[in-house]
Subunit: 481 residues, 2 copies
């Protein structure tokens, strides 16, 4: 059994700061009170333990309280990415068969196509309350969150993240990063992503303050790092580069209170690492995914330059192996095992277990060196990582293939100074069409970050003997242009 996180935490350290913004703060007791109000309003509105509820909104204080309200009630939360199109969101809502979607008022437009019950945060907060007994403990396999991630098929799959997945992830992390009673973790990652959500989990398990930024504000964030008002932070490369530039511009260094800059979503360029060291920013590169409820491996700051390009070693309760590799440095598919690995999907992929004999095949190619450090050589299914968001080429290809004037399409990532990568589409036309038209077509159907930044018209796509698209060839084409 796992204690209901917030209930236990509010009992143990009621007066510790749980959450703060630049202007306001809440103790765990106060956060529990806010969350319990929402939980009782959900109860009065007919929801109960085990119900599945969609959530869409900004990553702000209101959202944090509603998330905790859902957890106190014991609802399964489908964390909807607020950057998706209406169509993409509808697809997920339908696949997850949620009982209702709770939405921040400004997101009403995102749910236009949805027929399921919709309740705005304002409606909810004005509703009646019904008393109920909050469950003291959770079963380890209770689903806390469901996050959608696309894969080889291009169809998003709803990944179950259980109480045990999240808890063991936070525990593994604390054994690696340590914990100080004055720790404060700055969160400017989306709460619908595991990168942001996992910060909320650590907060209630550790009794740790979260400083919440709805949006990434480089000046304010850098000031916190310099003044030592925060001690940990999660970033993707694009944010890291801005913070480093800001420190350089002001000739500043990080405060000694600042202990961890956890950098996910692709490896950090060496140049950044060296400049970060000069600014006393301890960068810890990490390898994680939705299916592993955050970090699987993390490279310590002290190894950053000695092991350039490595994602580090697994966390204590995790295991990594390279399929069929018999010696160090042999390349192969990365397999992951541990209590943080999802037990499976919901919806149309429910029957497809993600595991092989208890191991999660990641689709990523990598190797372990002599000391057991993990290196990622090639991302799964030609995954494109843009500003920390995962983009699966197949998903974009599926959409474009639906255009009447397109015969064939192949998508790959192109390096981009700011975002790391952006998607580029190679197209074989059936009849003439303009780049503008295709851009508009995609914008209607795909989240903005997934819309190709270039459309390249070609006569044929590179395919192997069995006619499989060779996306790596597309990358070569880009480079040789």
């Amino acid at each position: 059994m796992i204690p209901n996180w917030l209930k236990q935490r509010a009992y143990l350290t009621p007066n510790k700061i749980a959450l703060s913004t630049q202007n306001q703060q809440w103790t765990f007791k106060e956060m529990e009170r806010e969350a319990l109000k929402y939980a009782r309003q959900l109860k009065a509105a007919g929801f109960t333990f085990g119900d599945r509820i969609g959530l869409i909104g900004s990553s702000n204080v209101e959202m944090v309280f509603i998330i905790h309200g859902c957890m106190l009630l014991g609802a399964e939360m489908v964390m909807l990415n607020n950057r998706l199109t209406n169509e993409e969101i509808s697809w997920q809502i339908e696949d997850a068969q949620v009982k209702a979607v709770l939405y921040a008022d400004s997101f009403i437009e995102k749910l236009k196509e949805t027929t399921v019950q919709r309740i705005s945060f304002t409606e909810l907060s004005q509703g009646d309350e019904a008393e109920f007994d909050v469950e003291r403990n959770w079963s380890p396999d209770q689903t806390i969150t469901i996050m959608y991630t696309s894969g080889t098929t291009g169809f998003p799959k709803g990944v179950r993240q259980t109480a045990e997945n999240h808890t063991s992830s936070a525990l593994s992390s604390v054994l690696n990063l340590g914990l100080d009673e004055n720790d404060c973790w700055l969160c400017t990652m989306p709460l619908f992503h595991i990168s942001g959500f996992s910060i909320l989990v650590r907060s209630v398990l550790y009794g740790m303050e979260v400083r919440l930024y709805e949006k990434f504000e480089v000046e304010a964030v850098t000031r916190e790092i310099v003044e030592g008002t925060i001690s940990r932070m999660s970033v993707v490369s694009v944010m890291l580069s801005q913070i480093i530039a800001e420190l350089e511009k002001n000739h500043q260094v990080a405060h000694s209170n600042f202990k961890t800059m956890l950098a996910g979503g692709g490896s950090v360029p060496v140049d950044y690492l060296q400049r970060a060291i000069a600014r006393k920013l301890p960068i810890l590169q990490t390898y994680g995914m939705t299916e592993t409820s955050s970090q699987t491996a993390t490279l310590s700051a002290s190894d950053a330059l000695r092991k350039i390009g490595s994602a580090g070693k697994p966390l204590f309760f995790n295991e990594i192996k390279i399929k069929d590799a018999e010696h160090p440095n042999e390349h192969g598919e990365i397999y992951i095992k541990g209590p943080h690995v999802t037990p499976g999907y919901i919806g149309r992929f429910q029957a497809n277990s993600p595991l092989e004999n208890g191991w999660l095949p990641t689709g990523d190619i990598g190797y372990l060196d002599e000391e057991g450090y993990l290196y990622i050589v090639d991302r799964r299914t030609d995954l494109i990582i843009s500003g920390g968001e995962n983009i699966y080429p197949a998903e974009i290809e599926n959409i474009l293939a639906g255009h009447p004037k397109i015969r064939e399409v192949g998508v790959c990532g192109k390096d981009h100074t700011k975002w790391g990568q952006t998607p580029v589409a190679f197209i074989v036309l059936a009849s003439p069409v303009s780049e503008e038209e295709l851009f508009a077509f995609c914008t209607e159907r795909l989240a903005k970050y997934k819309v190709p930044t270039e459309f390249v018209f070609v006569d044929a796509l590179p395919r192997n003997a069995s006619n499989k698209l060779l996306r790596r060839e597309l990358k070569q084409w880009l480079l040789s242009r």
Copy 2:
């Protein structure tokens, strides 16, 4: 599954310091090498995964390596208290049905009465080695250690402490105490006790250094506290009082590196707390027992004076309730639940589950106040705690009742400035016998700390209507003398 602690730790942080004495130190890699040698020698000597092995010796480096060797092999260790008499030890060895006892050479005399296979540490270390595959993972319910504890019956019961018990205890503790990469925990508690053994567990889980003292040396230990060469330490009151006195004598205070003085084995007198604060010693009082693989509740240093006499709140994964209590401050038996609670006993008590509906009845009487802080009102079965060692009156009574000249006997604890308490025996004679003769009789059969410091001859013992001995009356008699 739980990773084999040392194997995983030596892989993750091979070059961190694992163990040190005042003169020497070993990294996790070096510790693994030493332990693996013992494991291979055990293998060559015919031992294998799941075998039960008794261990007796001092709490020194050799013992640490042998303990880790047994764990790498996967043996169940029966941790024999080296202060017990030969008779007591024989009883436990027989009850546990160990395959063999490993003993430090100087303890050969303790095993005179034992017929089971005996192997000295020296013999073992000179034996052949056999290669074998160290298990990568343990099942959560794998027994790691067995520690004997007496109870109401006076017969010692072998308590199983599983991989999950120890692991969850260490994890709960880190969420409460925090963790710094430079942490170093001073261990001067016996390794055959959960207070000492749990420090070794934290070390491999946290990647933390243990500074080992075979014996408590107040001057050296205090110097480490003052110089900040250690950051955490476990003590019982008698050690604490000496450390405080030493600091006072030298007009010294604890270094700011020193973060936790974990005080177990009975509550700390208020006078100590106030003097400790003046010496900047952060005292955390704790409530734990063999059946809970160390701490169940711990009082934070900041609450020490606000909640005098309290044992604090449960650790994150633990639960405490007062039987039948409906309101705060109601007294009743303390019940404990959590992943740190033993699944049961071995040997003759194997069939007696210690649990009631998943809860461990402690026999201790206490209450929870309005804020949920635990207070212990009366120790289980009139438990006597002397210098941190538990003494059960029934065990001494059983021995004395076997003396031909004694008709009836009752034992209770008497306050003692240095040891906290010592046992006193009230005796109804059948025929005359001297105090000296009884003292000799006990010394032969009981560990030294259990031998009564006084024998009081009386005409009758206080009993209730159903003839049950009223040990609390005996305490009144002591006070009114």
